[in-house]
Amino acid sequence: MSEQPIIDVRGVWKRFGTVEVLRGIDLAIRKSEVACIIGPSGSGKSTLLRCIAFLEAYSEGEIYIEGELLGYMLDGGKRIPASDSEVARVRRNVGFVFQQFNLWPHMTALENVAAPLRLARGIPREDAAGRARRMLEKVGLAHRAEAYPSQLSGGQQQRVGIARALAMEPHIMLFDEPTSALDPELVGEVLQVMRDLASEGMTMVVVTHEMGFAAQVADKVLFIDHGKIAAAGSPHEVFRRDENPRLRQFLQNYFDRNVFWQNAGEAGIG
């Protein structure tokens, strides 16, 4: 039973018109696994994550969430688009954290977390508020519950975004570059929340540029290039075994930039 992957991506292609963004992705994530997806911009890594959430409809292949086909129904071997409510049902246990947070600006932090509980789950107002408060506590923001998103720093907004997703008690959390829109000094607080979540056994798929996070936390690192998984394995395997020239180049660029900033910091210009 534990052998069945909680996310099962089989031969997925995604086309925008004539552009092939994903070209045959196979990927299996097991319960409590943390997978980090890395790759150059435009490689298709965010598109893959959005397909796993069915924010994008994939063109070919199948994605199973906890054993259920996502986004389509099989009708005598033919694939037909599933209804909105069916999609919502299959992905009810999937939480998504956006690069741009996507908090609703007309609601307080607490309402951002509580409103979906009321609306989508029909939880009574009091209970929803209570659960929302516990979730904000979990991400260290209980004291900011009444603040509007615009009154919060980027890091705080993203933590509210995580609390909002966690409140639905998901089995899977998807993170789409959760720290890319943040000022460097705010990245740490968000990564810490994610680390805690991983240590609690949450199944996580994280699209990220934070190689340090990937190296420390991930069970599995996937390098995506030109719409294909070009390298995959444990962080140790992927970061050390760099016979793939594209991966070597990608990692080289990344480390060069960081070494530059490290040196710049020591020289007092950073």
Partner: protein
């Protein structure tokens, strides 16, 4: 040229009735227009193209043809479809559907002004299409489109005068008939202009105040 204000005071009861009817027509037309506009915009954006295409044509026709012609079609053409409407009913319906075309464009722009990421977030949280419209899109866009809605509502109040052409007894019609029976055109028509002008100024000022209050309310949320 003589100027005899008594002509107005002698007919004050009829004039007052005309004013009241003008405001009733305006209010009813605005309510219908807002409802039609919202439904049309939702139909254009959130259904399939077989619904959206006719609605888009409807908006284009309402905005591309004279209100007077639209009134004629409803009032004189109505009996063709078995719709024998009174001038007042035809006028209010006409004003509502005319305004609906413009309101629809405003609502549509409003829906499109809400960043798509916020709608994706709501979808990921399992909210239904209707819940997303009601709880995520409408509250945000109303603040943004309020000036445009207020502006259109003010414009509609002026269009009520056109209803006099299909013999609705609103203010312009009342004043015109007083003018043509007494030949006191200067007194009556200048009075009419001043009444509309004052009314428009008051309504516009009220709309500005409302915008400011709502603007202050959203300052809390937006920046």
């Amino acid at each position: 040229m003589s100027f005899n204000p008594a002509i107005l005071t002698d007919n004050w009861a009829a004039i007052l009735d005309g004013m009241v009817l003008t405001i009733v027509i305006w209010a009813a037309g605005t309510v219908i227009g807002l409802a039609v506009g919202l439904l049309v915009a939702i139909g254009q954006l959130f259904t399939n193209r077989w619904v959206a295409a006719p609605l888009t044509l409807y908006v284009a026709v309402m905005r591309g043809t004279p209100f007077l012609i639209q009134l004629f079609v409803i009032y004189y053409g109505g009996p063709f479809f078995g719709l024998d409407l009174s001038p007042l009913t035809a006028g209010i319906a006409g004003l509502g559907f005319y305004g609906g075309g413009y309101f629809a464009e405003i609502f549509r722009a409003g829906f499109l002004s809400v960043p798509p990421g916020q709608i994706e977030a709501a979808r990921m949280m399992g909210m239904s299409r209707f819940q997303i419209i009601r709880h995520v899109q409408l509250p945000q866009m109303l603040v943004i489109i309020l000036p445009a809605l207020a502006n259109m509502t003010v414009l509609l109040s002026k269009e009520t005068a056109v209803l006099s052409v299909i013999t609705v007894n609103e203010l312009t019609s009342v004043i015109q008939s007083i003018g043509s029976t007494t030949f006191a055109f200067a007194e009556t028509l200048l009075f009419l202009a001043v009444v509309y002008w004052a009314f428009l100024e008051i309504v516009t000022a009220a709309a500005r105040r409302l915008e400011k209050r709502v603007g202050r309310f959203t300052l809390r949320g937006q920046h």
